[in-house]
Symmetry: C2
């Protein structure tokens, strides 16, 4: 076990007009701040950069430690010296998405027009807008072509969108546990979570900053999220019908089962670490996502030269494998170099965060090949 | 198409002590009223009675028409002259469960001790308590042995429980889309729905009768329910990414997609037709359900002489088929006469309500055989 590596979050702000961001909706957003972290060293040729995209409630802190924290970044088992995304070889970058609440501009940021938090006056953003903002950061870092872009869940969507938007700037990509468009069930689950938040009187149409937070609504939305991130089997293996702090059923409405207490606890703590409005904006961006806007996915990948490794998990019912298989078919129709692996695991959608061994070997080999094909 | 058949709901009330109901928790409940309906005619031998159990939000009105209504009972396509549960041959009974809100005693009933609605002073009940109450009704009707008991989802649990509690009183049973114990995921989904209701300030710890109803909480809980009753595929086929009343995405937080509007509409209307406290009590009873209390399902079915037809649906992810297969194995270990059919359909858990053709043929043949074996 090597010594812990420390990292600090950095910030990059786009200037005011004419450098503001013109969103997909046509609305202009600026100034825009991006919070980001980097791990490893950019080589002289600037050819070893890997961009990691985070998932819905993730942040720029993908790896290493913040001083004083009790845990490292969210994908630390995958990123570091000798790990899958090997920081002895690669320069790894992760930025908080716009619309988020972890340092990048989002609904909890100060609206320069009013001097108060945006709240619902923040414009509705899309996955494309998030990717465009990250492209500004990569330009700022002087990187012309990324060796790789990767991420799970929403991060996978972003990697796909980058490959389509900027085909000459991405050598390879690893979209994990993802999809090319949000389905009715995925939209429905998000809409329930949004309704739970917006039903909370403390949400107050988005103007709760400095006041009481919409804790109950956030708790319910997070409980729904947790159920969808696990598989039926992993919940059964972890909790089954185990009772929580009692020998027998209580015959009242306190929690009887461990799974109830776990979800309540995880739900209740969520409001402290995540902004309710950011949850609304990001879930909406996900629901808006459809790479095949006119329905023709084959056409979308025309001209894409990126090499792909696409990874799914057998027990992921939120982003089931068949959706990635549709992507693979459309890529193959364009003669794109794509490998597809479905990992057999019971962890459900969360597998991209916890199924480290299987992913590490795949990612390491894929990156070795990608790096060789860049230099050869 | 034959003329519509009309029916009226009847009521049966157990007398005060000593005939009150002693619940599994030890609490005594009385007087207890059961709302029920019957279809067809009881024969002289009283050997053609079939008891239908309803699901979570169902009621006694399983078939035929109430005068002035726009729709017949909830399982009318399955129950009637010439239908699967053929009322030209059989006497079909359906009763509202205790804890419900459709005429049987539940949390919205008047508490005789206070003259006000019970609210949360209603005792927590179990599936066993519901079955015991229905046994009183069947005794009252003078029926010593049921030809069959059937139901989907919660109704299936009740049919299983009856067979175990009263093995000499049930000739055959058809549990559909059901389970022998609630799993962690099933408990978790219910707990989210309960938290959504209890988070609504209008819920007011269960004392909302005569005041404003917990409409937002009920809407969120119903939206979750609807998602779990459908399959990923049936949602995609029905809604996909179709927009609701607009040509393009709105870039705001109004509903963009048809699936959002549908869920919101179904959720909002739910509070008008169902009592929030009943939802809490019935979902809790389901979560408490474990036929194999000490973990040995084989032992549970010892001495059971009922013939079974167990039906599941391939796309039902809420009560997946593997759970019924566990039941079949435990029954076979007891030499119980059991047939198991998994119907291939995309309708998800709702299949027991909508997949009529496949179920009808199975049920009709099974009942013919059951009726013959009773008389032979």
């Amino acid at each position: 076990m090597s010594d812990p590596q420390f990292v600090e979050t950095q910030h990059f702000t786009f200037a005011d007009p004419p450098n503001e961001l013109v969103l997909k909706s046509g609305v202009k957003l600026g100034p825009v701040t991006m919070a980001y972290e980097t791990y490893g060293t950019l080589n002289a040729a600037k050819s070893n950069a890997i961009l990691i995209f985070h998932a819905l409630t993730g942040d720029a802190h993908a790896a290493f430690w913040h001083k004083g924290d009790k845990a490292p970044g969210w994908w630390d088992p995958m990123i570091g010296p000798g790990k899958a995304f090997d920081t002895d070889k690669y320069f790894v970058i992760c930025a908080n998405i716009i619309g988020g609440c972890k340092g990048s501009t989002g609904p909890s940021s100060i609206n320069p027009a009013t001097g108060k938090p945006y709240g619902l006056r923040f414009p509705v953003i899309t996955i494309e807008d998030m990717v465009v903002a990250q492209k500004r950061l990569i330009d700022h870092l002087g990187i012309k072509k990324l060796l790789c872009a990767s991420g799970g869940s929403m991060g996978g969507l972003m990697a796909l969108k980058w490959a389509v938007l900027y085909p000459d700037t991405l050598h390879s990509a690893i979209p994990i546990a993802t999809n090319y468009k949000h389905t009715a069930q995925q939209i429905a689950l998000h809409e329930v979570a949004r309704q739970a938040i917006m039903s909370d009187p403390h949400w107050n149409k988005g103007d709760y900053y400095g006041g009481e937070l919409p804790a109950q609504g956030m708790a319910v939305s997070r409980m729904i999220g947790h159920i969808t991130y696990m598989s039926e089997r992993s919940m059964e293996e972890k909790f089954g019908r185990k009772l929580q702090g009692k020998e027998k059923l209580g015959y009242d409405f306190s929690h009887d089962f461990e799974v109830e207490s776990y979800l309540k606890y995880r739900g209740a703590s969520f409001v402290q670490r995540f902004d309710a409005n950011s949850y609304l904006y990001i879930s909406k961006a996900l629901d808006y996502f459809d790479l095949s806007e006119d329905g023709d996915l084959v056409k979308v990948f025309k001209g894409v030269k990126t090499k792909f490794l696409i990874v799914t998990f057998t027990s992921d019912w939120l982003y089931p494998s068949y959706q990635s298989k549709d992507i693979v078919r459309a890529m193959k129709a364009n003669d794109i170099d794509v490998s597809f692996i479905e990992i057999d695991t019971s962890y459900g959608h969360d597998s991209f965060l916890v199924e480290i061994n299987g992913q590490s070997k795949l990612v390491r080999d894929f990156l070795n090949n990608a790096a060789q094909s860049v230099t050869s």
